[in-house]
């Protein structure tokens, strides 16, 4: 064939062969893509530098060390005053984000599993009530929920003077939730040690009981033993060490409460709205996961004489969890990201402090937004990483 082809076209046919070669082409396209992306980034970077220069700004993170000059009303973990630095303010914001994300994830999980199980209930009324709640919550924007709950907390809850407390120690008012504050004295570490020992012992008992069940077939009441241990050991330690923890109760003085521990209305509204909004998504995931388990599995288990509770525990849940956990993880991520809506009601999270007030005061848009985005990316990585780890642990070992 080659001999038949005229020599001038030989070059072209070689070129064509090169063009139709899959590997050559893919390398070529990738190089072009990389060059294109690099050019775009360089173009954006150049533009940014010229634009920043034009308004007399330079890229530097030194503003983090300058005094922030604004007050943050809610700072449960990191102490802060307006004279401290922007970096400190950002830390307060980050800790507030973490607080609302972690407590939100916990409450959303509890509410979501409860709602999901209610939705699956044989009881018609309970199932429909749960469905109505889920449908309504899912289909209304989160921001609206947050505004609404915040409005209720501010306008509907009683003023501190009229608030009726629960056991004279918890007061829900329009200025927040007042609760007794624990004060740790000398020797309180013993209680903490007791708690850690109890948790360690629980893990040990769990393993031992599993090994024993596999060896002998006998079942050990692991759950209640562990609960007993975790509750009783710290209490015993508390009394042995001479009651080193006391409580500072909130007391009504004038128009407001003094002392105790206060959860601000912004936090309460954000926490509650985030939790129930996310719980409606979790409920659907739980329901979907349980429904996805084939009916025959349950029937077979019941036919073997396994009790309904053990069927749920040993047959349904182990198979449903691997289906539930990946979407659950993405909902945890969503909750964490949605906590940035805090800014709408004045809760000082990382976006409101660093990306909001610090940005406005220093004019460092690029640097502050870069830090905010990095914080969220790291949080996302941590959550998805730990959920992947959990998922790989719970994955059923199949052939």
């Amino acid at each position: 064939m080659d001999q038949v082809a005229a020599s001038p076209s030989q070059d072209r046919s070689q070129f064509r062969r090169l063009f139709y070669n899959k590997e050559v082409r893919s390398v070529f396209f990738q190089i072009v893509t990389v060059l294109g992306v690099c050019a775009l980034i360089a173009y954006i970077g150049m533009n940014m530098l010229t634009n920043l220069e034009a308004v007399g700004k330079e890229l530097s993170f030194s503003f983090l060390g300058a005094p922030a000059g604004y007050d943050i009303t809610f700072q449960p973990f990191v102490s802060y005053s307006p004279t401290e630095t922007h970096f400190r303010a950002a830390m307060v914001g980050l800790s507030n984000t973490l607080l609302v994300a972690v407590t939100g994830i916990i409450l959303a999980t509890i509410m979501g599993f409860t709602l999901g199980v209610m939705r699956l209930s044989r009881n018609f009324l309970i199932s429909r009530l749960s469905q109505a709640f889920i449908d309504f919550t899912r289909n209304v924007p989160l921001l609206l929920h947050i505004f609404f709950i915040y409005g209720i907390v501010i306008n509907v809850l009683p003023k501190p003077k009229q608030a009726e407390g629960l056991a004279d120690s918890f007061f829900l008012t329009n200025r927040g939730l007042y609760a007794p504050k624990p004060i740790f004295e000398e020797g309180a570490w013993l209680v903490l040690v007791a708690l850690i020992v109890a948790i360690g012992a629980s893990i040990f008992i769990q393993r031992w009981a599993k090994a024993r069940q596999i060896a002998t077939g006998q079942i050990f009441p692991v759950f209640w033993t562990c609960v007993g241990l975790i509750v009783s050991l710290p209490i015993i330690a508390f009394f042995i060490s001479g009651m080193p923890i006391s409580f500072d109760f909130p007391k009504l003085k004038g128009f407001n409460f003094k002392g105790g521990f206060i959860l601000r209305p912004e936090y309460l509204a954000l926490w509650f709205a985030l939790s129930y909004y996310t719980s409606s998504f979790i409920a659907e995931i739980v329901r979907g996961g349980i429904l996805a388990i084939h009916k025959g599995q349950r029937e077979a288990s019941l036919a073997l004489g396994v009790t309904p509770n053990r069927t749920l525990q040993l047959v349904i849940i182990p198979q449903a969890l691997p289906l539930i956990i990946p979407p659950l993880a993405s909902n945890y991520l969503n909750l964490t990201k949605n906590s940035s809506l805090a800014i709408a009601i004045g809760y000082y999270d990382i976006v409101a402090t660093l990306g909001g007030i610090s940005l406005m005061q220093t004019g460092k848009e690029v640097e502050t937004m870069f830090l905010v985005l990095t914080c969220y990316l790291v949080l996302s990585l941590i959550i998805s990483g730990s959920m992947n780890f959990l998922n790989s642990r719970l994955q059923l070992k199949s052939r």
């Binding site: 893919s26 396209f29 990738q30 893509t33 990389v34 992306v37 954006i44 533009n47 940014m48 010229t50 634009n51 920043l52 034009a54 209930s121 044989r122 009881n123 018609f124 009324l125 309970i126 009530l129 449908d135 309504f136 899912r138 289909n139 209304v140 924007p141 989160l142 921001l143 609206l144 505004f147 609404f148 409005g151 306008n155 084939h294 991520l333 990201k337 949605n338 940035s340 809506l341 800014i343 709408a344 976006v351 990306g355 940005l359 848009e365 690029v366 937004m369 905010v372 985005l373 969220y376 990316l377 996302s380 990585l381």
Partner: protein, 377 residues
Amino acid sequence: MTKQKSYIPGTHPNLPPPRSEAGLLGWMRQNLFATWSDTFLTLFGLYVLYSFLPDMVSWMFFEAVWSASSRKECWAAMSEPMAGACWAFVKVRFNQFLYGFYPSEELWRVNLSFVMLFVALAPVLFDRVPGRKQLFLFTALFPFIAGWLIFGGFGLEPVDTVKIGGVALTLVIGVTGIAFSLPAGILLALGRTSNLPVLKMLCVIFIEFIRGVPLIALLFIASTMLNYFLPPGTTFDLLVRVLIMVSLFASAYMAEVIRGGLAGIPKGQIEAANAAGLTYWQTMYLITMPQVLKISIPGIVNTFIGLFKDTTLVVVIGMFDTLGMGRAALADATWIGLTREVYIFIAIFFFICCQSMSLYSNYLERKLDTENKFQKK
């Protein structure tokens, strides 16, 4: 005692079920009072319903005032102040909820776009629409036509973008997001599943970056620093910047939905197409995408629901969408104190929109489900 009649096996007539097991009574026994705990739960549920439903219904309907000129007048018309909803306020503000501050003599343009939206949606939503192929062309052109109608220019009176608000703004952002994110999402998903390592990495970085940060942060970028990225001297309108960010945001999520659909296509399909000599793009266009899009429509609809709800976040950077108009209305001195009415009205609006979309997605899921019966367990 009557004499027991005897039957040859198999000839006994079918008797009706016992009365306690059939009809309403039987249904209640089985579904509400099957066990003691069920009975308890039912009573608890009834108590919950009783504790808020009568008050809510009377507030929303029986005690509500539908026309008044101020809050004082509203409350005076009730048995006691705040006993009912003052829907008169919503009625007065209704046009603003729908259009924002759009000039009133040009409202037909928004209305026309809204009607056209339904025409454009018809071929996407239902497969038995007459002239579906031609309508698809219209659907593809719709965002441009609607953009021209709403913003003006080219022979129409231009309308300042800050004047667009309310439901119109919500729809502008939502429709732009979906119109851009679908093609972009398909390309990103193809990039992420391709076997070109560099391309794949770039797509993964983009998708995971966007999915890892909150939309609020992206909107902040849009409002504060997006202009820095452009050549000196160019300034973009805030709405355009927001539309860019929302589109990028939605396309990352869309890419993941499409990727899920791609995973659902058996490998043999692509191998068969390769064996038949189709090129990559022919395979994608003729074989893969028609199937992928079909199975991912529920996911696409869910992404759209999420996007539609997320459009409310533009309130935070000072734009007036449906929620923003509501909050602006709350500051009206003659109507002050009617927070509940406004929020509940907006909640009902979003609920109706999103619930109908999710009902449609459920309907579609059921329809697609029956077509693949053999794949079921």
